[in-house]
Symmetry: C2
Subunit: 447 residues, 2 copies
């Protein structure tokens, strides 16, 4: 196993180097590629609640019908959203520097003319937590961190707290604004956006993320000890009751009495890139795999595809799905929302009665380099609510996430980052799992 | 040699992968690092003719005096320059997409409200050349190309023609504007700027470069055949008679009658990044190497350091130097302006009388992995004019350029891209050459 991991790491390094200098992006083929290329080319960015997300839903309905899906429909919902506005940031002291910044989702807007305020450097979220109340009055907090790339994306949870909770903590201490180092592992000059989550007891303040090279600059200047002044303009703002919707489509099974297999991706994207890795590719993978699993004829169970809306801004599509379908039994849930590099791991959340099924799935994946691992599958954001409510059986196919957070929520999330060969491996892994679970006659359950 | 090259390629791939995911940038040490970090941190972007370029000159004078150089001075000159303005580009048909664009240096400004015009796709510069006169009236030309990374930067000359000559050719055919695929080998969403050169017989038009992923998108849409409309705003414009200057500093030799060794870099940078690779690192390398070559005591010949102004926009500093110093003999010229990855090759332009000297230099470099190659050294842009006028002996130390055009003229050209270990290898290679040539008593000449 060590040998396998070492080889995988070497291959991964090689692939990364290749991807960075491969010449023109390869043209893929097949349904997964066509969906990924189509969404990113014909729709592009599709921020939750925007006209482009609505256009993406219409595009999806046409495309899914054309692919032979049944019961293709949009289940609309509304949610409290956020729109981006003009944004900029410049250090004006001790040295003038224009910074590459993006507002975080749910940032409050800066007042007209922006904010000019001292920038106070915190090397970690813990250091910010330790700052005395009121010590940030009229100041802008800068939160640094040190997230590293990991195959399983392990850094995103802990380091991502700087984005999710950091702004609330800064606001609670009186800050006029907050800027974080992007939650990302790249060294490009492209900031990573993403939603922040305001605590109930604070008033939202302007909140943005600068690119890693800009954060390095701030850290260097902070080390020099000279006071920093930041001119900050972030005009994005919350907007209540925006329209979104889930797109649902089915491949009916031979036995309609058996609960369906639910497979999900999300249709919305952040607005800086075109959402190829996050998550057009996921929609492509699950959709081609569902079709491929039926190539030999109808499966026993219905496979239901969910292209969820408004995931990025708070998993509103997943919540709407769970509410709308709470009285309907489901057999098993899976989701693809971690890019399209090769699947390297499978994990399960299966009840004791499904142990043999897990063994069969793991055996079918082993020949294509997918290793079974301990730990409990979590299913992903969009199927999370329904899986929890119904204690569903869940299978996680983990994509290699080594470069996922290089691209995540940046302007760099574009089609050229999707490697057609790795995308095809994803489809094959998903196809193998679906061909087994959709033909399972016995009861399915999680824990 | 094949084996060596293969190992170098493998190492290079590894380094690239490492560089992309190395965690926080390493802190370097020593004079070369301090200059590179200082210029990029305390000055940042220093566009030719700007206040920041002037601040960089003052910073350089203070720094070079503190390092023990003599005759430190600024030789001012003026030149016809260019300033960037607000800039944006969006496809409005057949699909709406905001593009990442940067104006090229010497682009004409778009009229108030910008241009809305059909975008006509040309896969190559040759295809544009073949377009009938007048066929582009009222249209915007898009010039694609296919530059690949190369250790010696071989692609930049031929493919760079799309930037240098493409806009003039489009203007001659009546185009209202021109957009090119960035002259770069990366797949980041950051456009590469750089100067274009207008032919005498055309009127300048707005000219910009989109990032490679945006160019991919345009190419994909062009393939689909639906007409494209581009909304283009590029408010940058030429400005006559801007101030610049060369910073010159010397380490006087024991024999003032011997012509000096001239070593150059350029102090100005493009404005999108902080000019770490291009060319703060070059200034750091030549300066530390000059000092290190004198560590055992004064060299025989004076080493003159030239931190040239206004290189990026047309090598105005190099021309001003050649004019100001045309009546003064020089011994030999060298330049560092190709990043700071390891030096892998040495080439010479030495007259027949200096053949043995070339052999000694090559022998001193071989142990640190610098291979002697055929082909004639060219010296570089800033020393080009004086070297040509005086037929100077020239030594080229070629940095590995595999990733140079990933970063070149983009917002990504920042300090974290400079690897301290590779920077130190550059200094050592330069030190070895300078220690030999600055102690050469006999006459030096090129061809
Ligand atoms: Zn996602
Ligand atoms: Zn996301
Ligand atoms: Zn340069
Ligand atoms: Zn340059």
């Amino acid at each position: 196993m060590l040998k396998t991991l070492t080889r995988a790491a070497a291959l991964s390094a090689l692939l990364l180097a290749t991807a960075a200098h491969a010449g023109p992006p390869s043209e893929g083929s097949g349904t997964a590629w066509d969906i990924t290329a189509g969404l990113t080319t014909e729709i592009g960015q599709r921020l939750a609640g925007s006209d482009r997300e609505a256009a993406a839903r219409d595009w999806a309905v046409v495309r899914l019908k054309a692919l032979g899906f049944d019961n293709v429909r949009i289940e609309p919902f509304t949610f409290d959203g956020w729109v981006r506005g003009p944004e900029s940031a410049s250090l004006t002291a001790p040295y003038p520097h224009k910074l590459a910044i993006a507002a975080l989702g749910y940032s409050a807007p800066t007042p007209k003319g922006g904010i000019n305020a001292p920038l106070v450097y915190f090397p970690t979220l813990d250091a910010l937590k330790a700052a005395p109340d009121g010590s940030l009055n009229g100041k802008i907090a800068f939160i640094d961190h040190a997230m590293r790339a990991a195959q399983d994306g392990a850094g995103y949870g802990p380091y991502g707290a700087a984005r999710r909770q950091g702004p609330s903590i800064a606001a609670a201490k009186g800050a006029a604004g907050v800027v974080i180092r992007s939650i990302g592992t790249d060294w490009q000059r492209n900031p990573h956006t993403g939603a922040t989550s305001w605590s109930k007891d604070v008033t939202a303040i302007p909140a943005g993320a600068v690119s890693n090279p800009d954060a390095d600059l701030i850290a260097r200047i902070a080390k020099g000890g000279k006071p920093m002044i930041l001119a900050l303009q972030l005009e994005g703002k919350p907007v209540p009751k925006l329209p979104s919707g889930n797109v649902i489509a089915e491949l009916p099974g031979r036995d309609p009495s058996l609960p369906p297999i639910l497979v999900a991706c999300h249709l919305d994207s952040w607005d800086l890139g075109t959402g190829a890795f996050d998550d057009a590719a996921g929609c492509g993978i699950i959709t081609e795999a569902a079709l491929a699993a039926q190539k030999e004829g109808k499966a026993l169970r219905t496979i239901r595809v969910l292209w969820a809306g408004a995931e990025e801004v708070g998993v509103f599509g997943g919540a709407a799905y769970a509410e709308a379908h709470k009285n309907e039994p489901h057999g098993l849930a899976m989701e693809s929302d971690f890019g399209a590099d090769k699947v390297w791991r499978v994990q399960f959340d299966f009840g004791p009665g499904n142990a043999a099924l897990a063994d069969r799935i793991a055996a079918s994946l082993a020949p294509i380099g997918v290793v079974r691992a301990g730990g409990k599958a979590n299913g992903g954001a969009d199927v999370g609510a329904i899986a929890k409510a119904q204690k569903l059986a869940v299978v996680d196919l983990s994509q290699d996430g080594t470069r996922y957070f290089d691209l995540h929520h940046t302007s760099d999330d574009t089609l050229d980052k999707v490697d057609p060969a790795q995308l095809a491996q994803n489809v094959e892994a998903w196809r193998r799992v679906l061909a087994i679970v959709a033909n399972e006659p016995g009861p399915l359950s999680g824990n």
